[in-house]
């Protein structure tokens, strides 16, 4: 997505960085259940550049988490990559298609060139190990440093994610830390090997708003320092407004609209994006808002029962016969904007 714009901006900052660190090309993920196979992700194309954050936003069943799991190659049977490419440019400058790597090659990249943070840090931290030890392990898994060096680096990393009394915290177990602190530890682990790309799967969803604000601010400042690309999955458009440079809106396994974040919020083009933004209560409206919200009718599409034409058609106020008959093509609405709707310009 937004290839031209981002490329132009980054070309100004010097050669060698204008290539995306991650490019998904027509990615499809299939749940291969005999007789009931369906595609949870269908034809996803997007680019993530270094120093930029792409938010992948969608509701349940939109395919956003499956997309991130397929980049990490963490899909479990019956889910499998059915088509497409996951092109990743690592620290060595080589471009590889992650979709075709075996588990051994993938292990060298996971946690090394690519960091990952999840929604629930408690389930991804080892409850039996002190957090400093866990971070040191992550470092030594990928780099030939001594145990002592790794340990002091771990404390350094805890400091970098703004944990006070880092040395003491390093000697604590996950259950002794608060939720926000655990998410900071997860971020420290993900950054241990200075990844080129950080994948974040709803990292603030389980946190209180005040802690969420801290973590989002931390992620923004770390990205500035480290220049990594970030692919950020969320269901919350407010979080998108806070963190993203570019946005890809997913619905029914497809990206229905992609745009630079300001453009998307200024002028959403896809009827789904428009209806979604209209239905949200506005937290910082200058006046007392209208009590009744604009409502999008119907249910979220079930990936097991996709409509034959446009996947949003059953809920769309603009739908016409043609929308039901065949799926719409991806239209390029502006240099950096795509929209998967045949009627976007009629609205």
């Amino acid at each position: 997505m937004t290839t031209e714009l981002a490329a132009a901006e980054l070309a100004a900052s010097g050669p060698g960085v204008s290539e995306p660190v991650l490019s998904l090309r027509d990615l499809a993920v299939e749940f291969a259940i005999p007789g009931k196979a369906f595609r949870a992700v269908d034809g996803v194309t997007l680019d993530v550049f270094r120093g930029r954050t792409v938010a992948l936003v969608g509701e349940s069943g939109s395919g956003k988490s499956v997309t991130i799991q397929s980049v990490m190659r963490l899909l479990k049977s019956p889910a499998r990559i059915a088509a497409g490419e996951i092109l990743f440019r690592g620290r060595d400058g080589r471009r590889r298609d992650l979709a075709r790597l075996d588990e051994r090659e993938m292990r060298a990249i996971r946690g090394n060139d690519i960091g990952l943070i999840f929604q629930e840090p408690m389930t991804s931290l080892n409850p039996l190990l002190k957090v400093g030890v866990q971070i040191a392990q992550a470092i030594r898994l990928h780099r030939p440093v001594s145990a002592r060096e790794a340990k002091s680096e771990a404390v350094q990393l805890l400091r970098q994610v703004e944990i006070g009394d880092a040395a003491e915290r390093a000697a604590q177990y996950p259950h002794q830390l608060s939720g926000g602190m655990r998410q900071r530890v997860m971020i420290a682990m993900a950054l241990a090997c200075r990844p080129m790309l950080l994948l974040a799967d709803e990292p603030t969803t389980a946190l209180d708003v005040t802690v969420q604000a801290q973590i989002l601010r931390l992620l923004r400042s770390l990205q500035e320092q480290l220049g990594m690309g970030v692919l950020f999955v969320t269901h919350n458009l407010g979080v998108v407004a806070e963190i993203a440079d570019e946005v890809a809106v997913m619905y029914g396994g497809q990206i229905v609209e992609s745009a630079p974040v300001e453009n998307l919020f200024d002028r959403p083009l896809h009827p789904y994006t428009r209806a979604l933004l209209a239905s949200l209560p506005d937290a910082d409206a200058p006046h007392r808002p209208q009590r009744r919200l604009a409502v999008m009718p119907g249910q979220v599409v079930d990936p097991r029962h996709m409509p034959p034409g446009c996947r949003f058609e059953p809920r769309c106020a603009l739908a016409i016969g043609a929308c039901r008959a065949s799926p719409p093509a991806i239209a390029r609405a502006a240099a950096a904007r795509t929209v998967r709707c045949s009627r976007w310009s009629d609205a």
Binding site: D208, A213, G238, S279, A283, D284, Q290, R291, M296
Partner: protein, 328 residues
């Protein structure tokens, strides 16, 4: 104490506390109880929508459950329609309960999976001893009122989506004609595009039936849209309360200010280089005197640890528990 509106109050909570005893360690004296809710007083007038907002661990769900007598309060008073609920038992408690119903956050967990949607909705009516044909008619009417098809009555909860299940939960609450509904995070578990549907449905029913709503939430934008008045809960105590618009535009407690500032913006152009509140809420076990918020407060002074600040009047109906002026 908030005692300005008692004449018209439908629900009157005063000095309500819920303390949980923690386990006594071996050979040591028992630790002080956890003060999940401490000395909370407020009123809800009939047809009023009152929001209760706070972070996890603030005690908002505990407070709701104590009002509904789903857990027992340690002390205080809960009067509904003038009748004291604490201490009420058996039949008279059940009679009073009919007037106040609850909608939970998780529509997946709050419906009986072995009963059809119709049976779930009808349960309260069956307990009232209504006859089968009246119940069938009532269920059909309720399904229509919450926007579900008539054949939904014969299907089981797992056959519905999250939003539809929440509609069933609402129909179930409406069945016994309550005057107050306690809605505990009713849309937090729902998809974005479904939240507005459920909020508007609640609003429709509130208007049509003249219901009072106690709306518990953590999403300030939803609370601001929805509620006439709002109460902010921190570590079991109300730190600020007042008319929604006034509290949002002129918050007087630093914690309220911090909550408003922490809420995600509605447009990227409004991103602010805000002073995000540092730290997480502390544990509730501390019973030391002083303001509970002072450990995270940028404006704390020595006097803040001397005594727990009482709720003070800012304007007639706007109260805040902060001893400092003009800081939030």
């Amino acid at each position: 104490m908030i005692a300005t509106r008692s004449s018209e109050a439908l629900l009157q909570v005063s000095g309500l506390s819920v303390h949980f005893a923690t386990r006594r360690p071996w050979f040591r004296s028992p630790p002080p109880p956890v003060r999940a809710v401490h000395d909370v007083s407020f009123e809800v007038a009939s047809r009023e929508i009152v929001g209760l907002v706070g972070e996890s661990g603030s005690g908002k769900s505990t407070l709701a459950r104590a009002i509904l007598r789903l857990i027992e309060a340690t002390s205080g008073s809960v009067r509904f329609d003038g009748v004291e609920l604490l201490g009420l038992e058996g039949r008279s408690l059940n009679d009073m309960r009919r007037g106040m119903q609850v909608i939970f956050q998780d529509p997946f967990a709050s419906l009986n999976p072995r009963m059809t949607a119709g049976q779930n909705i009808a349960e309260g009516l069956v307990l009232q001893g209504q006859d089968a044909s009246a119940i069938r008619a009532a269920v059909a009417d309720l399904l229509q009122q919450v926007g579900l098809p008539g054949d939904a009555a014969n299907r089981y909860p797992h056959e519905f989506s999250g939003g539809q299940r929440q509609r069933i939960g609402i129909a179930r609450a409406l069945a016994v004609h309550p005057r107050l509904i306690v809605a505990d995070e009713p849309v937090s578990a729902l998809d974005m595009s479904i939240q507005a549907q459920i909020l508007n449905l609640l609003l429709d029913k509130q208007e049509q039936r003249g219901l009072a709503l106690l709306f518990i939430g953590h999403d300030l934008s939803v609370i601001r849209h929805f509620c006439d008045r709002v109460m902010v809960l921190y570590l079991g105590s109300i730190v600020e309360s007042g008319p929604t618009e006034e509290v949002f535009s002129n918050p007087r407690h630093p914690y309220t200010r911090a909550l408003i500032d922490a809420a995600p913006v509605a447009h990227p152009a409004r991103r602010r280089a805000r002073s995000a509140l540092s730290g997480d809420p502390p544990s509730r076990i501390s019973t030391a005197a002083g303001c509970a918020f002072r450990s995270r407060c940028a404006h704390a002074i020595d006097a803040c640890s001397a005594a727990t600040p009482p709720l003070r009047q800012v304007t007639a109906d706007h109260l805040a528990a902060c001893i400092r002026d003009g800081i939030a």
